[in-house]
């Protein structure tokens, strides 16, 4: 029809005959396949929790004490052992008008104050479990609890993995 038409000003073209094949109509009733999606996400979350739990347990069993590790942009700037601390220790990161203060006490650590806008790192509060983190995304600062001990390869492991990621 269009090929035989000599008129150059035809603007309306007929829809392709197979157009319906590419049309998607939404169903809006919850069906069993939706339950499959929900189940899959649940399994993913569960698997992740299990994996993180296993890695935390492994590193703790091979170690004798916990350490608070502070990293900025992936590089470690401060490390302090959390066992046997009688007085609170503080460490301050400054630069570019940014200021973030970290505090470590016996068995736990926290971000005391930060000049960042969302304050999520401060609101996280005290962390004490191995693998727990307080993160300040705007300043790329991570406070983490590490398990360290006799012959455990945990700290050097994490350091090398940082190097791999940053390169």
């Amino acid at each position: 029809m269009t090929t035989n038409d000599p008129s150059p000003i035809r603007t309306v073209t007929p829809r392709r005959a197979d157009a319906d094949k590419h049309v998607y109509r939404a169903h809006y009733r919850f069906c069993r396949w939706d339950a499959v999606v929900v189940l899959f996400v649940l399994l993913l979350a569960g698997g992740l929790v299990f994996g993180l739990y296993l890695s935390a347990k492994n590193s703790l069993s091979a170690s004798s004490h916990k350490e608070a590790v502070l990293t900025v942009d992936g590089t470690e700037v401060w490390r302090v052992s959390l066992s046997g601390l009688t007085t609170a220790k503080e460490y301050t990161v400054t630069g570019n008008g940014e200021k973030i203060v970290v505090q470590a006490e016996n068995g736990e650590a926290r971000v005391l104050s930060s000049t960042c806008r969302d304050q999520i790192c401060v609101r996280t509060g005290w962390i004490s479990g191995v693998g727990q983190t307080a993160v300040c995304l705007p300043y790329r600062v991570v406070l983490r609890i590490d398990a360290v001990g006799n012959g455990a390869a945990a700290p050097s492991d994490t350091n090398t993995s940082y190097d791999v990621i940053s390169k």
């Binding site: 169903h27 069906c31 996400v41 993913l44 609101r123 983190t133 995304l137 790329r140």
Partner: protein, 172 residues
């Protein structure tokens, strides 16, 4: 891709809606109650969800891109721009995959999209601070994303019913 003024104006309306929703969300979300970074309702996902059915893949990509650029221009910072871009496109990708299987309803597509949104954001966060430590937030975010995904689908269904009746279906 062939499109008419009619299509163009409909895309524009949905882009504006996406923008309004994401701005509303950042203004009014009580983030003090949830100390989990990146936790959002993802209201702008309503638009993505509707758009992949009404318009198809390419216009939706444009809508998501323009939404991210515009929120960036309205006083976001580069970090949040990267976050919304990564989350937006990963969730769009998974929503399209689920849509193309045709067996999932709005609910399944929405939950998949929400979960992908969070995964994208966490991956970007891991990249930014160069550590996998933040991965420990992901399980909580995934659980929340199931709830928000279902909520978003429940909100989108009546809108789709109303709008889809005018001219249902989208190509590609």
């Amino acid at each position: 891709m062939r499109y008419s003024i009619y299509d163009l104006s409909r895309w524009g309306v949905l882009t504006a809606l996406a923008l309004a929703l994401s701005v509303t969300e950042t203004l009014f979300f009580p983030s003090a109650l949830f100390p989990v970074p990146g936790m959002r309702m993802g209201l702008a996902n309503i638009v993505t969800l509707l758009s992949i059915y009404l318009f198809g893949a390419v216009p939706t990509m444009l809508i998501v891109l323009i939404r991210c650029l515009a929120t960036f221009a309205f006083g976001g910072n580069l970090t949040s721009f990267l976050f919304s871009l990564a989350g937006g496109f990963l969730s769009l990708f998974f929503m399209l995959l689920l849509r193309n299987r045709r067996v999932f309803s709005l609910f399944g597509v929405s939950v998949g999209g929400s979960a992908a949104h969070n995964i994208g954001q966490i991956l970007i966060a891991c990249l930014l601070v160069r550590s996998w430590a933040i991965l420990s937030y992901l399980p909580v975010l995934l659980l929340i994303s199931i709830v928000t995904g279902l909520l978003i689908a429940a909100l989108s269904a009546p809108v789709y019913k109303a709008v889809g009746a005018i001219r249902p279906g989208g190509e590609s």
